[in-house]
């Protein structure tokens, strides 16, 4: 299955991933080849097969609703490129 350039750009947009012209073309080729290979899955009839999202027998793991210490604010912000008044700082998202 060959991807078009527009499809690659659409996926990159969904993934918030900037790509150069060269990267778009290389990815188009590589992803097309990988998806072509993945098409062998179509040989399997899986209509009656349930999907496996996790191998674990666990469901809805709960813990007691007890307060406990967490990372201090200063530590949590320490790696941030930009902070202000104890918050992560981002560029304006509204005009």
């Amino acid at each position: 299955m060959a991807l078009t350039r527009e499809e690659v750009e659409h996926i990159a947009d969904l993934a918030k991933l900037g790509l150069s012209e060269e990267e778009i073309e290389t990815l188009r080729e590589h992803l097309s080849a990988i998806l072509e290979y993945a098409a062998i899955l179509e040989r399997l009839d899986t209509d009656a097969i349930p999907p496996t999202a996790t191998v674990l027998p666990l469901r809805n793991v709960m813990r007691a609703d007890k307060p406990a210490s967490s990372l201090p604010q200063a530590d949590a912000l320490d790696n941030a490129p930009s902070t202000a008044e104890g918050y992560f700082q981002v560029k304006a998202i509204l005009e």
Binding site: E7, A12, G18, Y37, L41, T46, L58, P81
Partner: protein, 515 residues
């Protein structure tokens, strides 16, 4: 024997007899790293000062009569596992400046056991790769042949260990990332059952598959390391609250009557003849030890690769959405608005393979393709798991090659992602099924031709009468032993029995010409 050549169990014996100190041992490892790591490039970050502090503390504790499961043992940690205060880059530009404020649970457990941390080892960026060539910083070299890859993604950990730059190491395995480099470097490496080991503090790649695993110079060391990290962790809601045995009690060389299955799909076309021969010989050794060997089938093996790449990349595309340049890591500062800032941060912060996988995973999850790719792959995952469930009704363990080939040349597969993905063709199914598996050394394939190296690489060339470094024994082959969920003990027992009957694990590469 020089101190850096010790196994963990060998070193513990000497430490407990007070024949050596943890400080001496740690210094010996640090000296060894200085001596050889310019050639191997296994470490991304070294922490000599804190390592020596930890070693001195271990000596004080021992002098005061305290012991610990790993008291004074110097270890290497893959650089996607958090050590508080030490950079954790994941081999990525996007985390180049990231310093975690907390320890991974595994690291906390190792600290309690008295371990010494030498540093952080190289990996394919975000553990995505099979050669360490996807590291944003440099490629690690295989100590058996410096022109070849050590495997990946935990290639730094495996190379450090076989080069005697650590006594034990940890990696993470999502689709073979502990076992395949263990195979290519001649080390014992284990992927535990999903949920057996906490993932808290392991940087997430594919959350339903990722598992931290130990690498050891022998099977006993693997068991000692697993003993420390196998535990339920309330901080990881996918960790299993199951009893933890003492894995060293599994180390009995008795496998008479054990039922061992050999999946015929693991000897399919594409496997190198030398690899097949070594693995067949290993299976004969197991038969000679009294195991009942029979051929079996895992009929959906060929579908594991596409299913794995769709599921792992889908999970990765979600996990890696957190790298937005706001909370930590690289941030593009030249963007006019926040949307462009995201795009530029991720464009410049991620390398080619990571971008490829984010794109593939995003595609597999996107509207219109979800059923055809992601859901389809989840259903195939069920079939792969059922293959193993059925096989383990008949067999205690399954054996086969870990990797279809020996270590390949640096650069050989970088431009062909599918070829690179095929390196993991025998190690992808076990994580999909959530079961445990171990790779251990089972032979060597002599290199057909010694590489002709350009001058300036610092490596002796063939034909000059000098020994070519790392070429003495050829290239290692790994035997993979897979067991059912929580079957670590039976896997370790078979591995130990094989190891006791052979000497592959005692072979070491000649990294420097001996003076």
């Amino acid at each position: 024997m020089r101190l850096h050549e010790l196994t963990i169990h060998g070193a513990l014996e000497l430490l407990r007899r007070r024949d050596i100190s943890a400080t001496e041992l740690t210094q010996a490892l640090l000296d060894r790293i200085v001596d050889v790591d310019n050639d191997i490039k296994a470490y991304l970050t070294l922490t000599p000062e804190t390592a020596l502090q930890e070693a001195r503390k271990a000596d004080e504790l021992r002098a005061a009569g305290t012991d610990g499961a790993l008291l004074g043992i110097p270890l290497a940690i893959k650089d996607n596992i958090c050590l508080a205060g030490v950079p954790t880059t994941c081999g990525s530009r996007i985390l180049e400046s990231f310093v975690p404020p907390y320890d991974a649970t595994v690291v906390t457990q190792l600290r309690h056991a008295g371990a010494v941390f030498l540093g952080k080892t190289n990996l394919d960026e975000f553990a995505m790769g099979s050669s360490t060539e996807n590291s944003a910083f440099f490629t690690t070299h295989n100590p058996w042949d410096l022109t070849r890859v050590p495997g990946g993604s935990s290639g730094g950990s495996a190379a450090a260990l076989i080069a005697d730059e650590a006594l034990g190491a940890f990696g993470s395995d999502t689709g073979g990332s502990v076992r395949q480099p263990a195979s290519l470097c001649s080390i014992a490496g284990m992927k535990p059952t999903y949920g057996r080991v906490s993932r808290y503090g392991l940087v997430a790649f594919a959350s339903s598959l990722d598992q931290i695993g130990p690498l050891g110079k022998d099977v006993t060391d693997c068991a000692l390391l697993l003993n420390v990290i196998a535990r339920y962790d309330p901080r990881d809601s996918t960790s299993l609250d199951a009893p933890v045995p003492d894995y060293t009690t599994a180390l009995r060389p008795e496998i008479k009557g054990l039922r061992i299955g050999v999946p015929r799909e693991y000897f399919a076309a594409g496997i190198q003849p030398g690899v097949e021969k070594a693995v067949r010989n290993a299976i004969q050794v197991l038969a000679d030890l009294g195991a009942d060997i029979a051929e079996t089938s895992l009929p959906h093996t060929e579908y594991a690769l596409p299913a794995y790449y769709l599921l792992a990349t889908a999970e990765a595309s979600a996990n890696l959405a957190r790298y937005d340049g706001i909370k930590y890591g690289y941030s593009a500062t030249d963007a006019p608005d926040i949307w462009e800032a995201y795009r530029r941060t991720r464009q410049h912060g991620f390398g080619a393979e990571v971008k490829r996988r984010i794109m593939l995973g995003t595609y597999a999850l996107s509207a219109g393709y979800y059923d055809a790719y992601y859901l389809k792959a989840q259903k195939v995952r069920t079939l792969i798991k059922q293959d193993f469930d059925q096989a383990f009704q008949q067999f205690d363990v399954l054996v086969g090659p870990t990797s279809p080939t020996v270590a390949f040349r640096i650069g050989e597969k970088v431009d062909d992602p599918l070829q690179m993905y095929l390196s993991d063709v025998f190690t992808l199914s076990q994580p999909l099924a959530g079961i445990c598996a171990l790779s251990l050394p089972c032979g060597f394939v002599s290199s057909p031709v010694c590489p002709v190296l350009s001058p300036g690489q610092g490596v002796g060339t063939a034909g000059t009468g000098r020994k070519v470094r790392g070429m003495a024994n050829g290239l290692p082959v790994g035997l993979q032993i897979s067991g059912p969920a929580l079957g670590e003990e039976i896997v370790l027992r078979v591995a130990y029995a094989y190891e006791q009957a052979t000497e592959w694990h005692t072979r070491k590469p000649k990294i420097k010409e001996e003076h």
